[in-house]
Symmetry: C2
Subunit: 182 residues, 2 copies
Amino acid sequence: MSATPSPARRTGGRSAAVLAAVRSAVEELVQERGSGQVTIPMVAERAGVNPTSIYRRWGDAPSMINDLATYRISPDRPLPDTGDLREDLTRWAQEIIEHFRQPAAAALLRGGAAAAGAGDSDCLRNRRAEATLLIERDGGEVPVEEVIDHVIAPIVYRVLFRPWTLDDELAPALVGRLFAGR
Amino acid sequence: MSATPSPARRTGGRSAAVLAAVRSAVEELVQERGSGQVTIPMVAERAGVNPTSIYRRWGDAPSMINDLATYRISPDRPLPDTGDLREDLTRWAQEIIEHFRQPAAAALLRGGAAAAGAGDSDCLRNRRAEATLLIERDGGEVPVEEVIDHVIAPIVYRVLFRPWTLDDELAPALVGRLFAGR
DNA sequence: TCCCTAAAGCAAAGATCATTGCGTTTACGT
DNA sequence: ACGTAAACGCAATGATCTTTGCTTTAGGGA
C-alpha cells in the first residue's frame, strides 16, 4: 500500500489549456460586466470550452472567480530582498499596486471580495503570507498586523472603491507612515 | 411652470412596505448564501413580494444589493460631537465597527464591493462624507485621505476578509496610530 | 509504447430566470 | 373626498442556466 493512493490528477496538456482559456475569458468578462453578471455559459463560449467542463471543475461562478482571483499573482515569484526592510516593503507594495492597476486584476479582486467570508475563500491570503515572510526575514521589528492594516488595507480599499487614486507615490507614502510612528 | 415637472413618486405606504420586506430578505439571503448566489425570484419569495416588482425597481440583483448596502446605515444619524477630533473619530470608527460586526452588514458590504467600479456605485461614499464632515468641523488638522487610508480602509479590509478580527481595541488603536505620527 | 482513467465534450431534459402586457390597487396632489 | 397615474400583482412566454448520463480524448505512470 502506497501512502498516497495517488488519484493521479491530470493538470497538464488539455486541462492546462482549458484553464488558461477560462482564465482569460473570466478576466475579460469580469472586467466588462462585473463579477455579478458573469455566467458560466458565457465564460465557456468565450473560452471556446464546454460549459460542463467548468461546472464540473468549479461548480458555480463565484467559486470560479474567487479561485482565479486567488492565483492571479504568481505565488512563487521572487520577493524583493535588498537587506533593508523598509525598501523591501516599499518595492513589494509597489508591485501589488502595479498589479491591481490592471483593470482586470481589480475586477477580479472585487469578485474575490464578494466570495470572501464564505468557507475558506480569501483571495488575499498569499499577499499576507508574503508580508509575513518579508518581515520575519528581517527580524520582525514591525508587527505583521500593522503592515496589513496600513499598507495592504489602504491599497485594497483603493483598488475596490477608488482605483483612480492608485498613484506612484502611494507605496512610499504608506510604508513611510508605517515607519514614522516608531 | 414648476422647476420639477414632478413625476410624483410614491415612496410611502405599499412601496415602503415592499422596500422593507425586500431589504430584510436580501440581508438574510446575502448572509446565508453570499451575494453572488442571491437571485431576484429568491428574494421575492422570501419577502412575499412579486418578482416583477423587484425587476422593475432595480433591474438586477447586483444593483439591488449595492443599493441596499449603500443605505444600510442611516445617512442622517447624528455624528459624535465632543469637541475633540480624536475622540469624535474614535467613537465614529467604533460605530462603524459595531455596525459591520453584524454578519448581515458585512455580507452586504461584500456585495457592495463586488458592484463597485461599475458606474457610480460606491456603497461607502456616505462614510467618506462623514469623515470629511468630522474633520472639517474641527479645523481640518488631519487630511481626509489619512483617515480613509488608516481608519476606514483597515476596518473595511477586516470586514471583508477577516471579520473575526474586529475587536473593541481596533477603533482606539487605529485612531491612536493616526495621531501618533504627527 | 501501451494501459488506465481523469478530464473534456456532447446532447437532452429539467429547472430557473427575465421580460412583457394587462388588470388591480392605492399613494399623493387637488 | 376624488381623480390620476405610480407601483404592484398576475400570468404567459421565451431565454438562459444547470444537471446528468454517456462518449471521446489524451495525460501520465508502468
